[in-house]
Amino acid sequence: MTGSEEHVLRSIEARRRTKPRVTDATVTTAHGAGGKAQETLLTALFLEAYGSEQLRLQDDGAVLDTSRGARLVFTTDSFVVTPRVFPGGSLGRLAVFGTVNDLAVMGADPRWLAVSFLLEEGFDMDELRGLVADMSAATREAGVEIVTGDTKVVERGKGDGVYVNTAGIGLLPDHVMLGADQVRAGDRVIVSGPIGDHGTAVMLARGELALEGNVESDCAPLAAIVRSLLGAVPHTRWMRDPTRGGLASACCELSGACGLGVHLLEERIAVRPAVRAACELLGLDPLYVANEGTLVAVVPADAADTAVRAIAAHDIGRDAAVVGTIEPEPGGLVLLETALGGTRVVDRLVGDPLPRIC
C-alpha cells in the first residue's frame, strides 16, 4: 500500500467515526432497511432526542432493573411483509417470533407480549382470522402469552391491509452477562444454521422474479436454543438474530460496538444451494439476506465446541458451526476470508440491497 493510499484510508476511517447527521430531506425506504441510512436516523434523530442510556446501547431490547432485584428485558417491533403468507411462515408467526427472538438474544426468557393491529377498512375478515390463529399457535410454540393489545382501523387507502406491532417482556436470569463489551479477542463466532433462507423465500414467494425454488423461511422461535446455549456456556458473550441486513449487518454492528475485528470464513458459512442460486441470479450476497430463526453468538474459544453441540441438539440448529473469530485488528471492521484464501471487507449496506442489472 502506498503512502498516499494509506493516508486516504486513514482519513476515511476517521470520518467514519464522526457523529452522523441526517441530511436527507425526506424519508426513503433506505431509512428502514437496516443499513447505514437507518443507523444514521436512529443515532442522529431518535437517540439525540430521546437520550436514554438504554437506547444508546442499541441492543435488541432494554434491560430494566426493578426495585425487587429482578431484571426484565423489554422490546418492540413492527411487522410488514408481502406476501403475508409465504413458505415456512406468515406475518402472524413473524410478529410473534420476531419479538420473542429479540428477547431471547438478550438472554431473557420471553414471557409476555402486547399486540397492536393497524387495520385498513375493507381488510378480509377471514384473512384476519387466519393471521390471529397463526399468532396464537406461534405463542404456544414459543411459550409466551399475549396479555394486552390495541386495535385501530384506518380508512381505505390509508394503510396496506394490516400492520402488526408486538412488544414483549422477558425475565433475565441473574447470571446472564451479555453485551458487546464482554467480547474479547480470540472469541469464536457461531451461527446456528444456513443463512439467507427467510429473505430468499419471501423474494421468491412474491412471484415477481419468475423463479421457482424450494426455499422455506427459517421463521422460528430461538428461545429454546438460547436456553440450551446459556445453560452449556454461561459465559456466552453476545447474541443476535440476524434479521434484516443479514449476518453481515449483525457482524458489522458487533465490530462497531466492541471495537474489535470480526474475521469470518466464507467456506464455514452454510448457504443452501437454492438460496445461493437465487442470490447469484439477482446479484445479491446471502451474507446480507434476512433470517428469522437463526442465531449468531460469540463465545470464548475454549467453549466453542460445547456451544456448537448445545445449539446442534435442536432441530433448527443442527447445522450450527463456528464461522469466525474475534481479532484485535483491524478494530471495528468485519473481514471475510474467501474460499480462495483472499480477504475482503464486509461493510454495512447503505439501504435495501438492490438487485444488480447485469
Binding site: T26, T29, E208, D285, L335, L340, G342, T343, R344
Partner: protein, 373 residues
C-alpha cells in the same frame, strides 16, 4: 450449483494463482490490466483476488458498469418523466440511487413519484397491461447484454398494440467506449480482460481493432474466479510471447459470432446515435442506441417533452479519470470523504460494480499483497 462451483474450486484457483506468480516472474515487469466489465470488478473484489496475485499486476476498472456511465442529464430526464401526471417509471434496482442534479430516483419516489423496481423490461410491459390508465415508461440502460430484452419487449408492445407503454432508451455500446479510452492521452494500459456477457451477444470479432491497431492483448472472460484467473494467465502469456490477439476464455458461453437472434432483434428496434454523453468520459461518437423512428410511438423521448439538458459532471468528481484508469479510486479528491456509498457524488460510487464502491466496500485492508514483480 453446476457451472459455478467448478469455477470456484479453491485448489484449481490456487494452482492458477501459482502459475500467474511464475509467469509474472518470467515477464519481470509491472502490468496494467483493464477489466472492462463491472461484473468483473465486483468478482475480483468479492473473491479477494487482489491480495492473492503478484503486486506487479494492477487492475484498472473500466467503464463497463452501465449504471456508472449514465450522465446526470439522463437521470434528470428520467426523474422528469416519473413526475409527469399519470406516468409510472419502471427500472432496475441499482439505478435508483444514481444521483441526478436534483437528487436520485429513490428520492423522487419518496416524494410521491410512481417509480417501481422491475427485474426485466417484460415486467414493465405487464404493468402497462394491468394498469391501462397509467403510462408505463421503462428506463432502459445497459450495454449490449440488456439491449435485446428491451428490443423484444418493445416489439411485443407493438405487436400487441399496448399503447400505454414506452421506453426511455439509454443503451450504450462497449466498443466506442474502449476506443475512447485507448485514445485518451497518457493511456498506459497493457492489456484488456473483455466483457463476458456482452460478448455472448456481439461475439469476439468486433474487438479485433484493440489487438490490430493498438497491439494490446484482449481476452474475453467469464465471471467466476477461475475464469478471471485463467483469462489473466492468457493475458500474461501473450505479453511474455509478445503477441496481441483477441482470445476467448469464456467459450462455454461466448461464440465468435455472438448471438444472431439477439443481434437481429437489436437491429430491428434500434439505430446508433451520432453522439452520447457518458458520465466521466464525455461525449463519445456512435456510442449509444436510439429507438428507430418507425417505433416512435413507444419511444419516451419522442412522446414526452424532456428537458434533455447536457449537464457537466460534478466538478469535484474524478470518475472520468478513474474510468480511464488514469487515477485509482483512492486518488480522487473526494473519495471516501465527500463521496461515499451513502452519499455518492460520482456514479463509480453508486453501484456495487462501480470501481470506487467496490474498492470502498471490499478493497480496503485487502491490499496486503505478496511482494514480487
Amino acid at each position: 450449483m453446476r457451472y459455478v462451483d467448478e469455477f470456484r474450486d479453491p485448489d484449481l484457483c490456487r494452482d492458477r494463482i501459482d502459475r500467474i506468480h511464475a509467469s509474472m516472474a518470467e515477464l519481470a515487469r509491472r502490468v496494467k490490466v483493464m477489466e472492462i466489465c463491472g461484473g468483473h470488478t465486483h468478482a475480483i473484489y468479492r473473491h479477494g483476488l487482489p491480495g492473492l496475485l503478484p503486486a506487479g499486476i494492477e487492475f484498472v476498472h473500466g467503464p463497463g458498469c452501465p449504471v456508472c456511465v449514465v450522465p446526470m442529464g439522463r437521470i434528470d430526464d428520467a426523474r422528469h418523466l416519473a413526475e409527469v401526471e399519470g406516468v409510472t417509471l419502471c427500472t432496475f434496482g441499482d439505478v435508483m440511487r444514481v444521483p441526478g442534479r436534483n437528487g436520485s430516483l429513490l428520492e423522487a419516489k419518496a416524494r410521491g413519484a410512481d417509480i417501481r423496481v422491475v427485474y426485466s423490461p417484460m415486467d414493465a410491459l405487464d404493468i402497462a397491461r394491468d394498469e391501462p390508465d397509467r403510462t408505463v415508461v421503462f428506463l432502459a440502460l445497459g450495454f449490449e447484454t440488456t439491449t435485446p430484452p428491451t428490443a423484444a419487449t418493445l416489439l411485443r408492445a407493438r405487436d400487441d398494440a399496448v399503447g400505454n407503454f414506452a421506453v426511455h432508451c439509454n443503451h450504450v455500446l462497449v466498443n466506442p467506449a474502449i476506443q475512447a479510452i485507448l485514445e485518451a492521452p497518457g493511456q498506459d494500459i497493457d492489456a484488456f480482460i473483455g466483457p463476458g456477457h456482452v460478448s455472448s451477444i456481439i461475439g469476439t470479432r468486433d474487438y479485433e481493432f484493440v489487438a490490430r491497431d493498438w497491439a494490446k492483448p484482449f481476452v474475453v472472460s467469464g465471471f467466476e474466479p477461475l475464469d478471471l484467473l485463467t483469462a489473466l494467465e492468457m493475458v500474461i502469456s501473450q505479453l511474455i510471447e509478445g503477441r496481441a490477439e483477441v482470445e476467448n476464455q469464456y467459450t462455454r458461453v461466448v461464440a465468435e459470432s455472438g448471438n444472431a437472434t439477439a443481434q437481429e432483434l437489436t437491429a430491428a428496434v434500434f439505430t446508433v446515435r451520432p453522439h452520447f454523453e457518458w458520465r466521466g468520459l464525455g461525449s463519445i461518437p456512435g456510442s449509444a442506441l436510439a429507438i428507430r423512428p418507425e417505433l416512435a410511438a413507444w419511444d419516451a423521448e419522442a412522446r414526452f417533452d424532456l428537458p434533455g439538458v447536457q449537464l457537466e459532471d460534478a466538478r469535484a468528481c474524478q470518475c472520468g479519470d478513474i474510468l480511464k484508469g488514469a487515477r485509482k479510486p483512492w486518488e480522487c479528491r473526494v473519495f471516501g470523504t465527500a463521496c461515499t456509498p451513502e452519499h455518492p457524488i460520482g456514479t463509480c460510487m453508486v453501484s456495487a460494480e462501480g470501481a470506487c464502491a467496490a474498492y470502498y466496500s471490499y478493497g480496503r485492508h485487502a491490499e496486503t499483497r505478496t511482494e514480487g514483480t
